[in-house]
């Protein structure tokens, strides 16, 4: 295992020299896994030799949460989750500093009738994207512990399969302007 790590560090360093300063595909590849290799170099030799940092594998963008008055105990959060890895990943749970519970929910509109379901996971296919948006998936934020004014920040930790965990900062949008 350690031998494999050394080999990878060596080859990555070589690749780094080759593509230094360039924006080529090779450069991007190197950028992708060099941080992981560098951290492996700093760390004392251990069992783990993760090539793909979870920060590279899962990219979260366009994250936001509906603002909510103090009287409201529930709200919803949305985002896009990209999976740059080679295997399917599932979002399986979430938690937030702004509420007691966060759940995964799905909305389904059928003949004008809107149904909501609590679900166990949101799958993000390899090389694909999961859209959490109004009318589809959302993270249901239950038992808010504070008012969420426009531009307030909420921290949320997302737990994915493969032991991937990400913490993100969502901005509250005032209802009425959050959507186009």
């Amino acid at each position: 295992m350690n031998g494999l790590c050394i080999l990878l560090v060596w080859s990555a360093m070589g690749l780094n020299l080759m593509v230094q300063g360039s924006n080529s595909v090779l450069g991007q590849i190197a950028d992708c896994f060099l941080p992981a290799v560098r951290s492996a170099m700093i760390k004392p030799a251990g069992d783990s030799c993760a090539l793909l940092d979870d920060k590279d594998q899962i990219v979260i963008r366009d994250e936001w949460i509906w603002a909510a008055p103090a009287s409201q105990k529930m709200t919803a959060a949305y985002m896009l989750i990209e999976n740059h890895g080679p295997t399917e990943i599932g979002l399986i749970s979430a938690s937030s500093d702004a509420s007691r519970v966060v759940e995964l929910h799905k909305m389904e509109l059928e003949d004008g009738f809107m149904r909501m379901h609590k679900i166990d996971s949101i799958k993000i296919p390899a090389g694909g994207i999961a859209e959490l948006k109004p009318g589809g998936y959302h993270l249901m934020v239950i038992d808010l512990n504070k008012e969420l004014k426009e531009d307030d920040k909420v921290t949320m930790t997302l737990q994915f399969t493969q032991d991937i965990k990400r913490t993100i900062m969502l901005t509250a949008k005032r209802r009425g302007e959050a959507e186009k």
Binding site: Q72, D111, M114, G135, G176
Partner: protein, 208 residues
């Protein structure tokens, strides 16, 4: 004997099938009409259980509310609940955009939000919730019986679903937005996917 019965039954089932097809086609046609976002003028008078031009509930200040109070105003009415995480704020967000587009005409329009959830939506909860949207809106609640009456009056639907969610129960519901004219008569109905411009056009048709 058994064979004879079977023979007699066949034409009957044929008639039933034809009748079903006719009803089904009629439903399809009316749905398509709605999907196209067309304004259904005087829809109420053509329906069997058409809404009478009044109902009474409790407003967001705890006072009695009668639809007759809004004579002379165009009303956009819809049903929801404040714990609704997705569909209701989406509709209210759309109505905020409708308001912007209406310009000066917005003075002639009132939005009514009738709660399906009297247990959680007290008048003050409704008031705080709606204040966030900066609309000329009134939140309405009442006893379950009073609310159900209004729900049935407009042909809306809802079901309270107990789930294993930490939120306790949630409500599955219809998402139509009802347009009432200055006399309180049902003048049109918009569906969830109708954009703000279709709603603005419908409102303006009643004002001008």
């Amino acid at each position: 004997m058994t064979q004879g019965r079977k023979m007699v039954k066949q034409p009957k089932s044929g008639i039933v099938a034809v009748l079903f097809s006719v009803v089904f086609l009629a439903i399809l046609t009316s749905e398509n009409f709605l999907v196209a976002g067309q304004l259904q003028v005087n829809l109420g008078s053509k329906k069997e259980n058409h809404p009478v031009a009044n109902f009474s509930l409790t407003d967001q200040d705890g006072r009695p509310f009668h639809l007759t109070q809004l004579r002379g105003k165009v009303v956009l009415l819809f049903f929801g609940y404040t714990s609704c995480p997705d569909a209701c704020p989406t509709t209210l967000a759309k109505l905020s955009r409708v308001y912007k587009l209406l310009g000066d005409d917005k003075e002639k329009v009132v939005i009514l939000f009738v709660s399906f959830d009297p247990q959680r939506d007290t008048p003050s909860v409704l008031k705080n919730y709606l204040a966030y949207f900066h609309l000329n809106s009134i939140g309405l609640t009442g006893t379950k019986g009073q609310i159900d009456e209004v729900v049935n009056q407009y042909g809306a639907k809802y079901e309270i679903e107990q789930s294993d969610s930490a939120a306790g129960y949630h409500i599955n519901h219809s998402t139509d937005l009802y347009l009432l004219d200055q006399k309180g008569e049902l003048a049109g109905r918009f569906n969830y996917s109708d954009g703000q411009q279709i709603i603005v056009d419908g409102v303006r048709r009643l004002i001008h």
